[in-house]
Subunit: 144 residues, 4 copies
């Protein structure tokens, strides 16, 4: 069983963009995962909004997490497509990202993720960004 | 107030691809709309699956519906972007399409839609297709 | 070698939405394919523009063609994702759709397509629609 | 006239993710812009490939550049949608990103961008990533 802590260890080692971010797992169920990205000065643009790459990166990691929550650690699972809609101006705040699997096949997994500001938006219905993504799973990559 | 029947009348008049399809409104709430597309031989590909354009067209109409469910009849609201993921082989069946608004701004509306087979999949968690779309709303177009 | 005529025969048999459309191949090179869709009353919306599903369907077929132009006839190659931007109001005219491959892997192919009005826009730089799409290629599906 | 140097000054001030990256303008024409991102250890994942957020960020900046190359400096032009396909494993190298405008309207601009490794891929036909994006232009925002 691949846990949220397993995922955080993997991310800390493998994804340089999360270094120093205090990324945390808020909820971890197979097929539905919520991550928390605490507010960080480094991700703020002048004018005071969270940068697009910060939101993209969080969406990508949450989608990666929800895929691994079902198939376990697969080193070579890679993002092949990510489509992101920026919905509202993201003033600085802790972010929550909830990812769900739409499909888990033997070769491709598809998921969606909503990102919202924890103390401001109240829930995914008032998201600042929404993304769908596709991951390619290598042959023999699925554990279960 | 713009109702599901108003929408069906508008679609019957304005969208040629729905002619002869018996498209119906299964549920109509402002901001969340579910349409039903009864099984139709004309939308089947040899091999026996529902064609991609049939699914695209249903996704586009459902997203249009959920935008109008909030802003009323705006003649010139047009799709500017639609991203669709085909998730499972859609064997012939009645289709349900549930669309939700992700954002309603003064100039742009963004929504998502899941399409599933009513008697087969049991719900949007087993969708055959999922799409997100953006609609451009003309100046002065919003009623409320 | 899979030719443009092979493709038209395949499409005539397998894709119901092209029936009665006089779809033609304007240019056929491995990795770059241009299709022509003559003007057809059935694809016009009231108000006089070409419908979104007509543009989606043409984009999808052109992308399918450019994949087959390189790998030959693979029955089970299926669209997994299509992202389409509607750029300009498409007044009635013959349409040209030029598709190019961005990547051809053993499992996935990615292409892009621009659609423009032959006598009006003059070329793909003034396209009415632009799409990118992903196709899944079954194991053993590639001929060469 | 808004030049490539104007753009670099704007980016240096406004986009924190470019700090310390030596981002440069390789070519700057109104409507077609090519940026260069020199190789940087900080953007490498363990395993030795360039990270997805690095590619997303470069695509987003190049699309922003090509919009400004036509409309000049518009503070509030914001990305509303970005769809990115990851095409090949991006081994470390200097990256080139060529962005072109697909449409420039009064309210929305749409562009596409190809990213390739300068010394390795030889050109955009062998891109490691391809994206399309939409920018919202505020009322009165266009200079010309």
């Amino acid at each position: 069983m691949f846990t949220g802590n397993d995922f955080l260890a993997l991310v800390a080692e493998g994804l340089p963009q999360t270094r120093g971010t205090d990324l945390a797992v808020a909820d971890w169920q197979p097929g539905e995962v919520t991550l928390r990205l605490p507010f960080n000065e480094a991700s703020i643009r002048p004018g005071g909004t969270i940068s697009g790459p910060t939101l993209f990166s969080l969406a990508d990691i949450a989608l990666y997490g929800v895929v691994l929550s079902r198939i376990g650690h697969v080193e070579l699972a890679v993002t092949t497509n990510l489509n992101i809609n920026f919905l509202r101006r993201p003033e600085p705040a802790d972010l929550l990202a909830r990812a769900r699997l739409l499909k888990l096949g033997t070769r491709l997994a598809v998921g969606e993720v909503a990102i919202w500001r924890d103390a401001v938006d109240g829930g995914p219905d008032r998201a600042v960004a929404h993304a769908t993504g596709t991951y390619s799973i290598p042959p023999g990559g699925r554990e279960g």
